[in-house]
Symmetry: C2
Subunit: 236 residues, 2 copies
DNA sequence: ACTCCCTTCGATACGCTGTATTGGCAATAT
DNA sequence: ATATTGCCAATACAGCGTATCGAAGGGAGT
């Protein structure tokens, strides 16, 4: 009955003790440095070399604390989960909103998060604590059955992650071009106008000219509201 | 009234003509090779060197057809849009479902798509055609106002992209470990059981043991249903 | 107290990436 | 026939993750 994985995951492997005390390195310090770097310069800037340099160490030194770069990324995600307050609220809708907002805000604080949240749940310690708190709050707020609770979380989290990627993607594009969305549409104008001039795309034209321009938060809230309405309807 | 961007985007730049005929390279052939490679070995395997090698060319030769690797990725996305059938259906719900399914299936056929769909709409020719068809079909199916139509598309697409990432992420993890989800949970067992043994995570335990196991398509459908119900409710 | 060993660190190195640069060649224009 | 243009391949550079390895150092055994 072999259950132990061939290589134990980062969550199981204990942090190696410090022997001498020349420079007090630790997993936590490494992760903090990586997060800071990612916040400041983007995920692409997080290289083992740069993280190590930030800590006055050679790149290879990090390999005593992390097994691989991917593990470092996992640890970064868990570090963000540790920042997110447990969802709260009196009704289940409030709790679900609180859950969504907590993660969304973390994702806007750390724009690289959306790139690392690929769906499969992370079982880092902070993520587990956050998940437990979420489920508990939902039950306490009135959702009885575990299936209902799980469906709600899954669906909200799915929408959430999509929205986060949209939003972060827009921010990045804006920053890259120094233009906000309206300006960016104008920059695209030569190409788009040419298409629209053909008259082949009347709906796109109408959308671009007449559609209401909602800010990201409004859009997020709107979709989340639809989702919760749909779930509520399924409860009765 | 300067509207022309400093560097014209790939959509505007004409494909260079072939002069001599030593090896008939073209933007389309390059993109096809890249897509094939990405399908077979993942997006990380798409390097200009490998794509070029596939076409019996040196890496730098590609730069006559694409300005940068990112442009190649944009072209790949547009190539996928070209595969997606225009949404159809008699009611707007059907059309919305058709829209979602079309993109979802493309995303499952080309698992790298989810990584490139970051939110900001791509204005490649195929993407524009697909978008126009989507909006048109929704109006024809009964949604009158452009704002309603746009909100519906935005919200569904947001959910869709989140779901696609989840699903693709799971597939990748399974393939990487050779385990399906249930087995994977068992592989995680040492770590998870240790956590659960503390009794600190009763909800997580319950979820893992008692919650219904839905397959990805069911889950997708469930969430999409909630969303459409919520939208429908807002129409009245 | 001395020696041995085992751990850990830094340096080096490999194979890979995207792409800037450069030099030569071949086809076209005069 | 000559001048010019434009393209392609080769080379080069800076960066990446990480495998390997020699040296150094502290802890343990005698």
């Amino acid at each position: 009955m072999r259950q132990v994985a061939d290589t134990p995951s980062i969550w199981e492997r204990p942090e190696p003790p410090e022997r001498r005390a020349p420079s007090p390195l630790s997993r936590e310090r490494i992760v903090r440095a990586a997060v800071t770097l990612a916040d400041a310069e983007g995920l692409d800037a997080v290289s083992l070399r740069k993280v190590a340099a930030e800590l006055d160490a050679g790149p290879m030194r990090l390999y005593r604390y992390i097994g691989t770069k991917d593990e470092l990324l996992d640890l970064m995600v868990d570090a963000v989960y540790a920042e997110i307050p447990p969802p709260s609220g009196s009704g289940w809708r409030e709790v679900a909103r609180s859950y969504a907002h907590g993660i969304r805000e973390a994702g806007l604080r750390h724009e690289w998060l959306a790139d690392l949240l690929d769906g499969r749940p992370r079982f880092g310690p902070a993520a587990v604590i956050h998940a437990e708190a979420t489920l508990t709050a939902l039950r306490a707020a009135g959702l009885r059955e575990i299936d209902t609770i799980m469906s709600t979380v899954e669906v909200v989290s799915t929408y959430l992650r999509g929205a986060l990627r949209t939003e972060v993607g827009e921010r990045r594009a804006e920053r890259a071009s120094g233009l906000d969305e309206r300006e960016w549409q104008h920059a695209m104008a030569p190409h788009l106008l040419a298409m629209f001039a053909t008259g082949d795309y009347p709906m796109m034209s109408e959308a671009m000219h007449d559609a209401e321009h909602r800010d990201p938060t409004e859009r997020f809230e709107l979709g989340l509201g639809y989702l919760l309405d749909g779930i509520e309807q399924s409860l009765s």
